[in-house]
């Protein structure tokens, strides 16, 4: 389950970052980029808290 959550989270981060590079390259319009960034934001905050802090609380971190 955590594995899939992480996949979703990184997809969210990707959607936040990548569209701006597509704007820079002229592939998409800024309006679409902003929408995709918002979708990425929602995905990140919906999924990352489920695993990020639990992962950091584990003692085997050395």
């Amino acid at each position: 389950m955590t594995f899939f959550l992480k996949i979703f989270s990184f997809v969210g981060l990707g959607l936040t970052l990548v569209p701006s590079f597509l704007v820079f390259q002229g592939f998409i319009e800024p309006g679409l980029s902003k929408t995709l960034m918002l979708v990425g934001t929602i995905i990140w905050f919906a999924t990352a808290p489920q695993w990020l802090n639990k992962f950091q609380e584990e003692p085997k971190d050395e």
Partner: protein, 480 residues
């Protein structure tokens, strides 16, 4: 009623070990510090400080190289000063000062410290408010504003301040968790917002970047009424903007949770993401704003980020301000609480949050952030130098560490005089020699170190009886 009582009990039960060394079982991993530093330094201040380098006419080359050198020096300061001392003592800055300087000096220091923390947190609440007010078409503050410009502004600041305070009342763990989640996303937003607007600045390929950076973004020409920044300004600002935290030892409150002193290097996550990439990114956004608004005086990170990255950008400003304000409020709460350890942390934080929110209503706090950050570091730095000397130097020259605790006195005049002399000399250097506030931290540290050694020689009385029967310092834990 039952629920209300349960919440109060929960808050009362929060133990952040403010008055005792951290037990081994409560130490945190390096990942916790990487996340905390990244969250804390990729923050609301970045939306203000990056643009101010543009306003002060830093050139592209001086910015890139000055930030690189200054940030490296900051990380080294965190590791070799704060990290080593935090792991050696496992105490908060405030408790350590009490052992060295006594409770009366600590009272004064804590009040000064808490006040400065409140103003910094207040600035961040104000930054968040510029984004929260967007849907309500709130009138934004300008570079010249000192007082609140509308009822809407005050109401928005109070909403943001209330939420920030409630989260801070639940202690470091909650703040750390939120910062961990928000940090990776925030840096993505900073980068994405800047990259997305590059075509509007005339940058359509990577090879276009440097020429445009030199001629359009960081032109080397300050805005009207702003002083000129050189490489040295940028370097010293990058090094000393968190001087209170590293050389000033405020981050003992965080790094005392570290298993090893080397965790101080985890501050690199904060400074290189927040004080390098994010400053460059926000500088790009501001230069675009100046270009397209015909040098408007409006200075509001919320609308700038919204224009570049849409709703996600506005959310980023809110969260960035929040993740800075939260730990800063927490530190201010610790500072006040050490005045009377019987006070509950959450009650103190509630009071501090109210004071901070009122301060946040004044936009001048944001507009003069560069000078405030430098002053804030300078004021708190001498006490960090005193701790350094007290732990590493005094025992080697035949003087006693933790003198107030040893002599059971409530006021160590050596510390008070050192603090006063250091700040007085820095003020004279500023007024009569013209050394700008951004540079005063370096001579100030040496003045504090020398001053404390001399003052300790003068004020420390022989303790023949106690020296004959050396006892271990009870609250010092050497973890390594």
């Amino acid at each position: 009623m039952q629920k209300k009582q349960g919440l109060k009990d929960r808050l009362d039960a929060i133990n952040e070990y403010e008055q005792e060394p951290i037990p081994q079982s409560k130490l945190k991993s390096w990942k916790s510090f990487v996340g905390t530093y990244a969250g804390e330094h990729t923050a609301g201040t970045e939306f203000v400080l990056g643009p101010l380098f543009v306003a002060h006419g830093a050139s592209a080359m001086s910015l890139v190289t000055g930030l690189l050198v200054g940030n490296i020096l900051a990380v080294l300061s965190w590791a070799f000063f704060t990290g080593k001392i935090s792991v050696k003592t496992r105490l908060t800055l405030y408790h350590q000062i009490k052992k060295i300087a006594g409770s009366k000096f600590t009272l004064v220091y804590n009040l000064v410290n808490a006040g400065l923390f409140c103003f910094l947190a207040g600035a961040m609440i104000a930054v968040s408010a510029t984004a929260v007010g967007l849907p309500f078409n709130m009138e934004m503050p300008t570079l010249t504003d000192v007082f609140p410009n509308s009822i809407g502004w005050v109401a928005t600041v109070f909403v943001v301040g209330t939420i920030t305070t409630i989260v801070a009342m639940f202690g470091f763990t909650q703040v750390s968790k939120f910062a961990n989640v928000a940090a990776p996303w925030m840096i993505m937003i900073f980068i994405a917002a800047a990259v997305g607007v590059l075509p509007r600045l005339g940058i359509n390929s990577i090879s276009d970047f440097w020429p445009v950076a030199e001629t359009t973004i960081w032109t080397g020409e300050p805005l009207i009424g702003q002083s000129k920044f050189t490489f040295w300004h940028v370097m010293f600002f990058a090094w000393f903007c968190n001087m209170a935290m590293h050389i000033g030892m405020a981050d003992m409150s965080l790094l005392r949770y570290a298993k090893k002193w080397q965790y101080g290097f985890s501050s690199a996550s904060g400074v290189f993401l927040g004080h390098y990439i994010a400053w460059i990114a926000s500088g790009i956004l501001y230069s675009l704003f100046l270009l397209e608004s015909d040098n408007s005086l409006v200075f509001a990170p919320g609308p700038i980020a919204y224009e570049a990255a849409g709703i996600a950008g506005a959310i980023c400003v809110v969260i960035a301000g929040w993740t800075t304000a939260n730990p800063t409020l927490y530190r201010a709460g610790l500072a006040i609480q050490s005045i009377n350890p019987k006070w509950k942390t959450w009650k103190v934080t509630l009071f501090v949050g109210l004071f901070t929110t009122i301060a946040a209503c004044f936009p001048a706090l944001v507009m003069r952030l560069l000078e405030f950050v430098a002053l804030y570091g300078l004021i708190l730095m001498p006490v960090g130098a005193i701790i350094f000397v007290d732990i590493y130097v005094l025992p080697r020259i035949g003087l006693r560490s933790n003198y107030a605790e040893l002599k059971n006195i409530s006021f160590n005049p050596a510390v008070a005089w050192t603090w006063f002399i250091t700040l007085a000399v820095c003020l004279l250097l500023n007024l009569f020699i013209g050394i700008e506030i951004f540079f005063l931290g370096l001579p100030g540290w040496f003045i504090a170190v020398g001053g404390y050694i001399v003052c300790s020689r003068i004020f420390q009385k022989p303790t023949a009886h106690k020296m004959a029967t050396p006892t271990p310092i009870p609250t010092t834990v050497n973890a390594n």
